[in-house]
Amino acid sequence: MKVKIENLVKRFSDNTAVDNFSCEIESGELIALLGPSGCGKSTMLNMLSGILMPTEGKIYFDDDDVTYLAPEKRGVGLVFQNYALYPHMTVLENICFPLEIQKVPKEERIARAKKMAELVHVETMLDRRPGQLSGGQQQRVAIARALVKTPRLLLLDEPLSNLDARLRIEMREEIRRIQQETGVTTIFVTHDQEEAMSISDHIVLMKKAVLQQYAAPQELYDEPMNSFVADFLGNPPINKTFGVMNRGKIVLDGGCEVAYPKAVDLDDGHRVILSMRAEAIVVEGPSEAMAEGVIEQTYVMGKEVLAFVKLGDFSVRAYIPAELQLTKGQTVKLSLKNKGVFVFDEETGERLK
């Protein structure tokens, strides 16, 4: 099912949790709703599920306007952050519950629940209560309960944040598998960029109630629309430096000149942010040097060496080939690749180059 959100606004008495949000989600996709804590992700999800009513704007499921429709009429399956499995019911009863409400005959609902349990691999623990399950198993049951009524849209609010690191990786792949097997349009909330990058078809990146960018993970990484997006994605975090344009060169605070060709036509005196991914910085490479820096610190990491290079006031991470044998205090020539280097306006954060 396609989801279309138009100019959605949610205001609580004193603050705006979601501001003028528009986007279109294609049928059958897995969408990550990504953003720092408090940016309005849960609010967004709750408006999609119908738990919260928007202040302004419209939500369409396919062509139906569902903006003010009651939750139960929307056909959405919801998985809560702490799963909210009913502690007094067994796994089977939990999965059956949505069907029981829909008055599905007992035999059919048990059959359907068992099929769901198989899909999420909890078929061996149908008689247990949630208290007797591990976090990952509870998570699976919660997904089964959300899916059993064959929803048009599956919503998951931080489904992985209660799990330990290894289980998290396992479960996110499980979510991907289950989503692909069922083909249900799915939106999941996360504040972990790696999680979002690794399994989603598209990422909705939010900051302080405002949609920053809606794109495929790779595009978000390669072509961030503003400096927030660039900062938010990537591990290690992007190198962020500030400077001012001077005769076609970026002069970083502290006096380091960077001759980044793509930035030559920016006006003199324009304050900019130069953000560089570590892998986009070439140290002592064959191509023409664009800047000079001093090696501050090096860490050998197998075949590569992670170096902190001083550029003006800033210390940037770069990878250098181990065979170069560079040491602390040495001055090196740097060049920048086209990909992974961005120039933003310092004031607005908008992408310039």
Binding site: E72, V76, Y86, F97, I101, K149
Partner: protein, 305 residues
């Protein structure tokens, strides 16, 4: 495995002082318990086996079951037990259902719920004896507000206080009123411990509020319900106080003997006082309450998740 156990055994040896210290801290409390709780209980049990025991001179004619035989064959005691059981089995379910409903209403975020809360909890902070006297006026045949209200529905006035058959119902009405606030407070705190997420989850699935009430709220509240039922059963088994403000005693023509009133009767009312019989009745009542509590615990365990 054995090695691990050994490490524990070999752990730092406690000195004599360390071993005694905790008991010293316990001493004041233990002293209170022994003198004011344990000693009287043991004494009552002993007293119940002493024939013709005289409290003042501490004399008795011999050990035996005479008191029990008398009490178990006394028609007043039969009546007392029948009344008490009837009272408990009427009060507990009615007060429970009412309390669950009212606690649920109070748990909704509706305007003026603070006023209702105060109104419901008022009986708890007022002296039951004083309020009991007020109830006596309210039950009055001619001028009481209860009969006046019944009159609005075309019901003939009921002589609550002066006709033996009605006394029991007056006692029940008063008893339910008196037990509600405590019950509601406990249930309300139980309700507030239920994560509202369960309700949201059920609502998204389209559950009606009745369905949510019976399938989610009640089962999740069950542990609290059991606890309150246990406490209330014990306290209602001991019904006694309420007799005085309402009827100045065990009702018209002694029709309202209760188990505890029977104990009081043997102890204070009969001449000469029959301390042994009072003690025997007390032990029997204790056993009944004990068994009831055990049954409830057992049921609770069976239904626990």
């Amino acid at each position: 495995m054995t090695k691990v156990a050994k490490v524990h055994e070999d752990g730092p040896k406690r000195t004599l002082k360390q071993m005694i210290e905790p008991y010293i801290y316990l001493l004041p409390f233990a002293f209170g318990i022994i003198v004011f709780t344990l000693y009287p209980i043991v004494n009552v049990v002993l007293m119940s086996f002493k024939n013709n025991y005289d409290f003042m001179s501490r004399s008795f004619s011999g050990w035996g079951l005479e008191n029990y035989i008398y009490v178990l064959n006394d028609s007043y005691f039969h009546q007392a037990l029948a009344n008490t059981f009837k009272y408990v089995f009427i009060i507990i379910p009615i007060s429970m259902c009412l309390s669950i409903l009212l606690a649920n209403l109070l748990n909704q975020k509706i305007k003026g719920s603070a006023i209702f809360q105060t109104a419901f909890f008022l009986p708890m902070v007022t002296s039951t004896t004083a309020v009991g006297l007020t109830w006596r006026f309210m039950f009055n045949n001619n001028s009481g507000i209860i009969n006046a209200m019944l009159g609005l529905f075309g019901i003939e006035p009921i002589n609550w206080l002066q006709i033996a058959g009605n006394n029991f119902y007056a006692l029940c009405i008063y008893g339910i009123w008196a037990i509600l606030p405590f019950t509601i407070i406990l249930l309300l705190s139980g309700l507030q411990n239920i994560d509202p997420l369960y309700y949201t989850a059920a609502k998204v699935d389209g559950a009606s509020s009745t369905k949510i009430f019976f399938k989610i709220t009640i089962p999740l509240l069950a542990p609290t319900i059991f606890l309150v039922m246990c406490i209330n059963t014990i306290s209602t088994f001991k019904v006694f106080n309420d007799l005085f403000p309402l009827f100045s005693g065990p009702g018209v023509a002694n029709n309202l003997f209760t188990a505890v009133y029977y104990i009081y009767y043997q102890f204070r009312v009969t001449r000469p006082p029959r301390y042994g019989r009072a003690a025997a009745a007390a032990v029997i009542l204790f056993l009944i309450i004990f068994v009831m509590t055990m049954i409830q615990k057992w049921v609770e365990k069976k239904t626990k998740y």
